[in-house]
Amino acid sequence: MSKISLFLCNCFGEIGRVIDLEFIRKKFEADPDVDSVTIVDSLCMPDDAAKAQVLTRERRIGKVLIGACSPYGKMEFVRLGLAKEGAAVRAVDLREGCAWIHGKDPEGATRKAANQIDMELALLQNRKDSKDLTLRVQQEVLVIGAGPAGLSAACGLARLGFRTHLVDRGSAPGGLLNVVKKVYPTDEPGPGKIKNLVDETGENPLIRFYGKTKISSVKGYAGDFKVKLTGPEGNTALRVGAVVLATGARILFPQGLYGYGKIKNVITQMEIERRFATGALNCKTAVFIQCVGARNAERPYCSTICCPLSLKNAMRVMDENPGARAYVLHRDIMTPGSVLEAYYRKAMQRGVQFIRFDAERPPEVRGQEQVSGVEVFDSISGVSRVIDSDLLVLSTPFVADPESAAIARMFEIPVDKYGFYEEVYPIHPVETRNDGIFICGTSRWPVSSDQAIAQGEAAAIKAASFLGKETVSALAMSRVPGGKLGHAAADAAACTGCGNCVAVCPYKACRLQRTGNRSVSRVIKVRCKACGNCVAVCPNGAMQMPEQNYRVTGEMIRRAFREVR
């Protein structure tokens, strides 16, 4: 075991004023683990830092312990500077964690400093290094779902030069936009909005489109996923480095709400789109009801698209049926941003009537077999009104696709309580907790087609920046620079295969593997982020974090309150 060099920083007296550094120097010079103790005035200043570096290099010191300010300040740079010389470096917080908060108790502070240094010495002497794993990243991507989000992700990745496999359960790309004749706020046709992307999918040789295809199995981890597809061309096996999920959502069927399914001419927004497409829409008065099955206890979220959708369809009803009227019964009109707000004003000028109702007092439908009218309590004027109407359109929200739960299970990503894929909250909006899996579009959260296209691009960039490195080291796979200490290692001889670690791992990095006649735990190094939960639950001590193994923790606890003499 090589000896440790100890550097103590006086911080121009900030530390030395409280802590008796001379006492500590004498104490640790007598320690058999310590090679030398050097007190410097300020380790962060160039001359002292250089002195420490030269000393480390010339004496070939393998282990260095610094006692100075907190590792969140300048100390990290000093630590990294010394680590460059090839030494294992640890730092003890003597300023923020000791001198500055125990100023009135110098004796206690000195004792604490000595104990903390002693504990870190134990760590340095007993720590081991995790075995790193270098992985070749497959330079291909799989994009699931060919709606606006999936198309934009696939095109973005192909433009960056990655071979992209685009899979959809439908026969043609386009997703929900294929149904929509016109999109808000530009009133261009739905398929036209993504026409350039669909064309690019056909033209770019790097993109391959698989229609009517489903995922049958997924194996592997970030950098090397083995995916099997089943489609009309039979089974296809792919090896991809990253996966973009853009599987979309569906619109809620308002079964039982406002007489839907029982009364004729009570339809959803999707049905009115279809009627527009076939040209068979004539009505005198259309009434749109907003927030049907949304913003309630069951689905408290706003579905983003229904308000602008109703504005657009109300105006279309008026355009296509001269003399027709349109009412929008809403709880609040959600038209964020300058463009949509202008669209709202345009609808008002066009003559669309807006009536606000309370969630506690929803409108009531009149009519037995055919809609004859809607009774609504106008919450602003405080009076009840009856609107004679022959068409009632219900704005229902996006709900998770029934297939997305199975996809999420396959790719081992979590879904939220409404069934949408869960992002890594709050600063990684298109990433999931399974590295290498990216999400975008309405499968993640209700968005408009514009936002879906933007998210597709974001997911493409994130996937590309991961694939861009041709090889990746498991130790470097962390979202935080320098955030990963190592990864857990399972001792196959001590493991009894109880599976506690598998149950507790938040990254699904532990697996039980059958070897011979028993199961043992195996850690997927690429997925492990070194939180240590598996170590805490292992009943046999088979699971260890080499950097902070049981010997380290045990010694640190033993030394924490050792008498200082």
């Binding site: 923020e96 125990h102 108790d105 206690g108 890594v424 939960n533």
Partner: protein, 142 residues
């Protein structure tokens, strides 16, 4: 066996993403704290094994504090949820064995809550002052 009070020894397991940064903030604000505690930095509160807590008591700690991120704000997805469950269970066990569940403090805070960190340490120190030292149970000479 003499009952030794007042000689408080607190072992703090602090997660380096929240607890430890909170400690750093408390230091920068020069909040005066009793020098009765020692800190073991861990990557996540999930790393703290119940055995380690028991071992700390066995080696004479009056109290043990485990400081992690807020539930729902863990750096490692939700790694501190199982930790919380595990340590709450351990509290029951400590109560059953007579050590006392109140010797184990579970603290959750974010990185910028340095005042909360300082208050937690101070209050825990005061609570531990009235508790008998665990060292009374140690064999002589340790």
């Amino acid at each position: 066996m003499s009952v030794d009070r007042g000689n408080v020894k607190i072992l703090v397991f602090a997660c380096r993403w929240c607890g430890l940064i909170g400690a750093d903030g408390a230091g920068r604000k020069r909040i005066e704290l009793p020098a009765s505690y020692r800190v073991i930095p861990v990557d996540c509160a999930g790393y703290v094994e119940p055995d380690a807590v028991i071992r700390a008591f066995a080696s004479g700690a009056t109290g043990v504090a485990v400081l992690g991120c807020h539930v729902g704000g863990c750096r490692f997805n939700d790694a501190n949820h199982p930790a919380l469950k595990r340590l709450e269970l351990l509290k029951t066990l400590l109560d059953t064995t007579g050590i006392g569940g109140n010797r184990l403090l579970l603290g959750f805070g974010t990185a910028h809550e340095s005042h909360q960190y300082a208050d937690m340490i101070l209050e825990f120190h005061r609570a531990m002052e009235s508790m008998p030292s665990m060292a009374s149970w140690l064999p002589q000479g340790q």
